[in-house]
Symmetry: C2
Subunit: 322 residues, 2 copies
Amino acid sequence: MVMQNKNYIGIDFGGTNIKIGCFSANLKLLWKTSIPTNAQMGPDAVIDRIADVIKEMASKKNTPLETIKAVGIGTPGPAKYSDGVLIRCANLPKFINVPISRMLWEKLGKPVILENDANTACFGEFVAGAGKNIKNMVFFTLGTGIGAGIISDGKLLQGSSGNAAELGHMIVNVNGRLCACGQKGCVEVYASASNTAKRATEAIAAGAGSNLKAVLEKNGQITCKDVYDHLAEGDKLAKKITDETAEVLGVLCVNALHCTEPEKIVFAGGMIGAGKPLLDRIKYYFKQHVWKLKQEDDIEICFATLGEDAGIIGAAALAKDL
Amino acid sequence: MVMQNKNYIGIDFGGTNIKIGCFSANLKLLWKTSIPTNAQMGPDAVIDRIADVIKEMASKKNTPLETIKAVGIGTPGPAKYSDGVLIRCANLPKFINVPISRMLWEKLGKPVILENDANTACFGEFVAGAGKNIKNMVFFTLGTGIGAGIISDGKLLQGSSGNAAELGHMIVNVNGRLCACGQKGCVEVYASASNTAKRATEAIAAGAGSNLKAVLEKNGQITCKDVYDHLAEGDKLAKKITDETAEVLGVLCVNALHCTEPEKIVFAGGMIGAGKPLLDRIKYYFKQHVWKLKQEDDIEICFATLGEDAGIIGAAALAKDL
């Protein structure tokens, strides 16, 4: 039994599931579990369940509560991270101004650090994944939205209230397509997984010929995975849609380079399942769009390596740094 | 006579002039001077002259060389800043791979820190100007090009080789107007002083009616100052051109917010001579373009306060932090 007070809990709090992991001081995974979020139960009930699950697992897995030194939790934003308060979240309608760090501390008696979920995943990749042994990294997670995190000189870049690194909402087309965030021409409104699928659907509605039309008719929708599956089969519309997504992501890499000059840009999230064809296109468009003033061959654009565990590892690593 | 070894030299190395200032440990200006760059003389001769001027002024102004602890120098990039080597610069054609820090150290016997000139001006405003008492700031200088600097958590953000914060080269229109840097649709290609003037000239060539046409015919060119002078007189084209510049700068502020979440965004450079009409328009377009997910009323967009001395103050302050 590991009895020293030196383990760390990492929580990845999503709209659908809550992942919880327990890690040793050297970030070895001791146990992990996942529960449905059931956000409709409201903040009190959800946070009670998180605390109960941690207590139950801690006891069952021989890492009793006394061995847990601190807890890290990643949630969607925006939040007042320094105060541990979740302001609001699209996927968690009942979670408004929830002092999540204090509530968990009251249940567990451990210090709690709240961080943006893209930042926790970024920090996980930085300490244990694609970003090991570098000091400057930019991280993107391509899903329904585009999350981002920045490591600058070995540290997570926070900004004045912890809401830095919303790079998916950088505008790449002034007065372009309208994003759900209220801005026009953001990266996210073109290149997230859901918007990639949406652009394909719109193209078919506008009369584009594609085998994706049959998918739309059969399933009532097109997913980003459908687009990449059809890309592999040589479908022309799938190629066009993928190129547009990759071009915007390539430009995003140019802009990220000009912001914090990372050594690596790391992509994560469901969309990286598209594999090498997507990565190669992003690299191609980066080279097409980046300036010629200075060679930028040193920057590496790659995929994340930790998969879904990045969030709990990063949250635990942040708890360790508390 | 100030004899303790505690003064600092700040150098602002431009394509036309080299400004040199000597500052006490609390960054009080002891003396300053300016010499023509005469870049055509080549690196050896230019750096010899800088060293000679410093020695001469130090002796004349009762701050003998023994009292100088370190030297900071700001130059246009790109450079290998950590090594003190200027790689190349559009306005200094003979300066290719010049080890400027080592050369100055050999002449003066003092440690030398090399930094991007926009970064030194940014740091100057941060320690002694518009950025006093905050921890996160983004700085833009609007001139021939658009330089930028980022202060994150109280420190100048450097990036992996000191070339971070090239925010003027963020792309805001994928495949937009071609910039001198080789990219398309950069902020700089729309909103720098020279490109603002250029867009006015192009509009007149394309047939737009404006009193600026007489200026073009008389002087053979239109300057950015001409555009703002005519804005004050109610010229319609000047208003259109100013609005376009301000809109791109407003979007630049949105993107800067989403990168490092500063408390303040500070504009400097010749173009801020346009005054309140320009600043008000930038603020207007920022509000128009920024997301609605979260109130962003806390961020302040303002002008720099130190004028042309920001560069030498910042370079001296960086030398002090060595």
